[in-house]
Symmetry: C2
């Protein structure tokens, strides 16, 4: 299975696969005699995990931090899969990401409130 097929099977693009590989989310696959990347079903399963976690707001850096543990959840048949924290919380990266997102939400909310207050009357309320 070449890169285009693997990408399509995981719902993404060849460019993304090379990007994940360059950033340590995907292990370098074996190559054909002419240098083309060759993937297997396990790679596709891992890719799907990566895509899901990215879509949940984890960053590439987050996933790189626990890339070794992504192996443990690359098959949905593994006994550990589905347990709390087994997938999204290897090493606490997901919990830290939730905290980061909360901080960002708070910051944005405060900014929005102040801007809205300014809209209502800039010179009177606060400043």
């Amino acid at each position: 299975m070449r890169i285009g097929d693997a990408a399509a099977a995981a719902g993404t693009t060849p460019r993304a696969l090379r990007f994940y590989e360059a950033n340590g989310l995907l292990p370098p696959p074996r190559r054909s005699g002419t240098g083309q990347r060759v993937y297997g079903a396990r790679d596709v399963a891992r890719l799907r995990v990566i895509r899901r976690l990215l879509s949940l707001g984890l960053t590439v850096a987050d996933l790189r931090d626990c890339a070794d543990r992504l192996d443990l959840v690359e098959s949905e048949d593994l006994p550990g899969y589905g347990e709390p924290g087994a997938c999204a919380n290897p090493g606490g990266v997901a919990a830290r990401r939730v905290a980061t997102m909360n901080a960002e939400i708070d910051r944005l909310t405060e900014l929005r409130d102040r801007l809205a207050a300014h809209l209502a009357g800039p010179g009177r309320g606060g400043g």
Copy 2:
């Protein structure tokens, strides 16, 4: 008054002033015989308005969209200052920015909720 003094008076840097000028937030100032930018008190007042609106979450593009109306509020002594919408809402840019920020807050909140749910148990709730 040269660029460094104007920048210091407004609590920012020469680099920022050139950036604002290049992006249409500040009108091109007059130049000394040798090409150096020369600013006046009005420029500093306008700079302060720009800095305040940026700190409230408006973007450079927002301010460029109403750069002409920034003139109207560059002095706090002007009668219009302090009226609702006079400063932060020229043309509705601030209102649109609030809407954008709300959308961003909603998006982040939903992402965070889903990631938190994933943390609690990825394969069970809604997988």
